[in-house]
Symmetry: C2
Subunit: 235 residues, 2 copies
């Protein structure tokens, strides 16, 4: 890992001198001291994106929830558990040239976190789990008035109407791009080695061929590098 | 693993010829195709118990939820995800001489599993997560009229009033023994390498010294062997 870190520092590339935040993995939202709400994100796609950006010379801040995927080497790793911790870590990592929000952040958390393990009430009714909305990290960063990264990329993991939901999400959040994918159980994407994504930009939607998560990551990193350098070349 | 399995078959010991079911790990209860309710059980204590019983010559059926701990070698491993699947697997594994229910089975599941990823309704209220009680595996097996294992051991992972809750649990469930432990975050038991348990039997409560999970497992396995052989020695 030390050698990889040194290699990263010495690495030249189109993103040399650029700082990119990448979020990855699930978040865990506690119900009580032993139970929590989770999701099936393995963090594999986010880790691959961090590695691909690092390989193009970027300084990567990798903010990860409790993911099963190994942490990438040669990047700054910040471990968090909940959506609120992830937002705090992202805000603390700004300013950045770009931010890629690949984490599967829980939309909701439990409203009243119990300090004790919730007991089963014999013969009683199960507890109602009242939920409350989590902060929206993608929307918050996309709509920053000061210090917004030049390029903000969101992800839309959908099981139905993938394209329509992702197009709407891009406008609603105010981000520049959305990487949309179908995570229905039949696709094998969540927890799997491959991904099939559609990149949505202001110009339209591009279907990318199904490929390894590493290959999808390299393609996305190359597009990010192109975009950040184009911005500068423009008058 | 093959060598270990052969070693297990050849292994002599007080539990040779005895069949023991061990459950382990958390269960995951799906909310929709990507989200689920989980708990912090690593499955380390259950795996250690399976190994200790195997080492005393038992034929072990190891029914495990999605645990992070490695699966023990030389035992029959059955992987499940939900509480209902775990109950089915346990019932299918009967008859057995003893059953050790070390899994942290979810008390509740989501009443109406959504076939699609639940969408955040912009400006709307978060969904209410209506829960319903899961089958009680410990109680079901403890109260079997035909085919009940001679020795049924439950676990009580508590954060408050550990002893009182565990004593009440033993009577309510109808099991023979309860292994009670304090899983408050400060103890480091959940996910940690050590455990401090109290063994509750019809005769009373014994506090065991804090020890590695492997040591707690060996002690429990030795007690199980003692009990199963005593039964036979009795007139």
């Amino acid at each position: 890992r030390i050698l990889e870190a040194i290699a990263a520092m010495l690495r030249d590339g189109p993103l040399r001198g650029r700082r990119v935040i990448v979020t990855s993995g699930p978040t865990h939202e506690p119900i009580d001291p032993v139970r929590y709400i989770a999701n099936r994100s393995s963090g594999a796609q986010g880790a691959a994106i961090a590695e691909a950006l690092r390989d193009l010379g970027a300084e990567v801040v990798f903010v990860t929830g409790p993911a099963s995927a190994p942490r990438p080497a040669g990047v700054q790793v910040i471990e968090v558990e909940t959506a609120r911790q992830m937002l705090d870590a992202v805000m603390a990592a700004l300013p950045a040239d770009a931010a890629v929000f690949a984490a599967a952040v829980a939309d909701w958390r439990v409203e009243a976190l119990s300090g004790s393990k919730i007991k089963k009430d014999p013969g009683g009714r199960p507890p109602a789990l009242a939920l409350t909305e989590n902060p929206d990290i993608l929307r918050t960063v996309s709509r920053l008035e000061a210090g917004r990264p030049r390029l903000v990329v969101g992800f839309a993991a959908e099981t139905d109407d993938v394209l329509a939901n992702a197009l709407a999400k891009r406008l609603r959040k105010g981000c520049d791009w959305i990487v949309a994918n179908d995570v229905s159980p039949g696709t094998g994407v969540m927890g799997g080695a491959e991904n099939a994504v559609t990149l949505i930009t202001a110009e339209g939607a591009e279907d990318w061929p199904r490929a390894s998560k590493a290959e999808v990551a390299r393609r996305l990193a190359a597009r990010i590098a192109e975009r950040l350098t184009q911005d500068e070349a423009a008058p």
